[in-house]
Symmetry: C2
């Protein structure tokens, strides 16, 4: 809940500069929460390209259906996001709510409804009171500004305990472009394509198919490497808007070397946002980094790392500051990937506790104990089989997670 | 821990009658626990056939390696089980411990070491002090009796809060045979082949290859249908001993109709033991039954059911007595199996709350609330696609699980 104590791993929201071609802001529409903003909107300059990646969950929310259809046009003029109600599993009423919201925004701005993108998060299965949204939109659209990024980052929060944002600059040719991103997410986090909500905007001018490709690649190395609780949300949405307001050299259809710096900056930005989501994992007290090496392939390494990252027994051991590497061995073995117990090595905080399938006699436990007491725990596993490697991030499983999720709806 | 308050779903240990050809018992060997039994042994009549199914975890314990090799002979004369140390991930020392234990038992009984079966559960990664076991064996073997089943059920417990056992009778031809089983298990329960430890004995005389086939089939419908925390143990072992002491008609190699009743009784017995394991799930306060129908196949139904059964958000909602069917829809959607949101229906306690992809307007919440307050919660999901169905059992996720596993080793 927004009133909860901030996560011990919280990071401050960095200053988010204006992006040429973007006006953004938030207001309180009273959808679920009282005394806080819960409705966010943005308007984009004409000609803005959009790319999107959505949840792989087979029961997606109505706004995800809407965005998938709208994305086919490749253009965006507006974004409307509400917190408190996910508009998921709401049947025809859910589809009607998305249509009414997009129509209202389109009428205000004078552009096609199919250029309005939508996202909702919160409770599943309750009909969204879209009249509250459409009633609040005129004043909200009138107040949008280039400086509204921080307000937007706060307005999309649900069980988040801190607002999440990141910014980067990159050179395209000799021209500096800027990328801003905001995200929300804390529970129901096991993105298989994307995670919860993340909105990114840049003033770069990038052809739409290329923008989509860049986004997919950046997500594979960022949001698809984190987990909080292995539960894949029905609402996961990442949207990237490129206004094209920056006066850089024209980008060829295949991007070429011109976008190398931009692609790197985009991946870094999404990675920073993804880690903020894990830092705010529901009830989490530790950020866990898991590096797997020596796997038969990178894919295999990622699966083994995710098996460790999602193991309740590993996560509770870390919550208890117990360097229980036996449970890590268990999680490697249950992953279903190629593994040989007698070649397996495990370290925590850089100290190798197990080598080649057995405990390291007389390893120094003191630095491990000290490492476990901190808010960031590093686990490394070497399978001793090949050259495949992967890193993923998770958090511990504590009483806080049970508190939040044993009484979320009521 | 053995001193913990019994699970609210605990069931009393039924009287376990003698099995002709089996002598069994337990003693305190001081392996880890103080003031309780922790070493169990059984001796079987000459000619006893044995079948076994073991963990699919790629990092199995040394006793699992031992049993897999011993099983090739198909004959058993003894069983030795310790609680408190799993002898997993212990390298050469682990293999030496199994060899020394089997040798000691074999010397006492005058049979080959390869007819001694072994199992260990408890902490992973610590060398097993097998000298404590071998020192205790002579007195223990001297005290084995036909009436020692209840003592054995208690002696194999680790984090279990109650002893687990079941018994059945079946007719083979006109002869009554008896089957006894004991099991232990509470956490690290997501059997993919078997679960934790379960030992079954019967006086039936069944050819070994057929015995193995019967056991595999019975496990598919029992232990492979339960989960506590999605973590597959490194020690899962189910052994079935058939002493052949009953004077029934000879069983043909393919079993035929003669074993229909026996096979049913065996499956029922394993199912009863599997449910006892879930009832004792670490920290659990509710037993959850999940029935999935309308899937494209039985396999698909089982995967969807297991996705619900393992979802931390579903499990915490049930702990909080919140009929949050939206989370059930989420878990269906993330399973990766064929599903159509708009054909999905969900009921709790027999009340259909969602039909064809949307909430049932005005459903009666009172009986659902009353049902959620009980210790047994029934969830039914219909996918509306085909005829595949499956039932699985799980338990809720509570503060108790965090308490137990955040401080198990220390």
């Amino acid at each position: 809940m927004p009133t909860a104590k901030p996560s011990p791993m919280a990071v401050p929201l960095p200053p988010l500069p204006p992006i040429a071609g973007v006006r953004i802001g938030a207001c309180a529409a009273g959808i679920r929460y009282v005394g806080r903003t819960d409705l966010v909107a943005a308007e984009f300059a004409p000609g803005t390209h959009v790319a999107g990646v959505f949840t792989s969950n087979k029961c997606p929310g109505a706004p995800v259906d809407w965005c998938r259809a709208a994305l086919k046009g490749g253009r965006a003029r507006a974004l409307v996001v509400n917190a408190g109600n996910a508009n998921v599993f709401t049947g025809r009423a859910g589809a009607q709510a998305t249509r009414a919201t997009a129509d209202a925004a389109a009428a205000l701005g004078g552009y096609p409804a199919k250029q309005v993108f939508l996202a909702s998060t919160g409770v599943i299965g309750e009909v969204l009171a879209h009249d509250k949204i459409t009633a609040a939109l005129p004043a909200l659209f009138g107040a949008l500004s280039a400086d509204g990024w921080a307000d937007a980052a706060h307005g999309i929060m649900t069980t988040d305990t801190f607002a999440k944002g990141a910014t980067r600059q990159a050179l395209i040719g000799e021209t500096t472009v800027t990328i801003n991103g905001i995200a929300k997410g804390s529970g129901m986090i096991a993105p298989d394509m994307a995670t919860m909500l993340c909105f990114v905007a840049t003033d770069a001018k990038i052809p739409q198919p290329l923008l989509q490709k860049l986004l997919r690649r950046a997500i594979a190395g960022s949001f698809n490497r984190i987990t909080v609780d292995s539960d894949t949300s029905t609402s996961d949405t990442v949207l990237l808007f490129a206004t094209g307001a920056a006066k850089h050299r024209a980008v060829p259809a295949d991007g070429g070397k011109l976008l190398t710096g931009f692609a790197r900056a985009l991946t870094e930005l999404l990675h920073e946002l993804a880690l903020q989501v894990v830092r705010d994992g529901e009830g989490a007290s530790k950020l866990i980094r898991i590096d797997v090496s020596g796997a038969v392939s990178g894919k295999s390494a990622r699966r083994v790392a995710m098996s460790i990252a999602n193991s309740p027994l590993v996560k509770t051991a870390i919550a208890g500051e117990d360097a229980n590497w036996g449970r890590i061995a268990m999680a490697v073995g249950k992953a279903g990937e190629k593994a040989d117990r007698d070649k397996l090595s495990i370290s925590i905080g850089g100290v190798w506790m197990a080598r080649d399938g057995a405990v390291v006699a007389g390893y120094d436990e003191a630095p491990v104990v000290a490492h476990m007491r901190g808010h960031e725990v590093n686990i490394a596993v070497d399978l001793g089989l090949g050259r495949g490697q992967a890193s993923v991030w998770s958090c511990d499983l504590t009483h806080g997670y049970i508190d939040i999720n044993g009484a979320y709806r009521s």
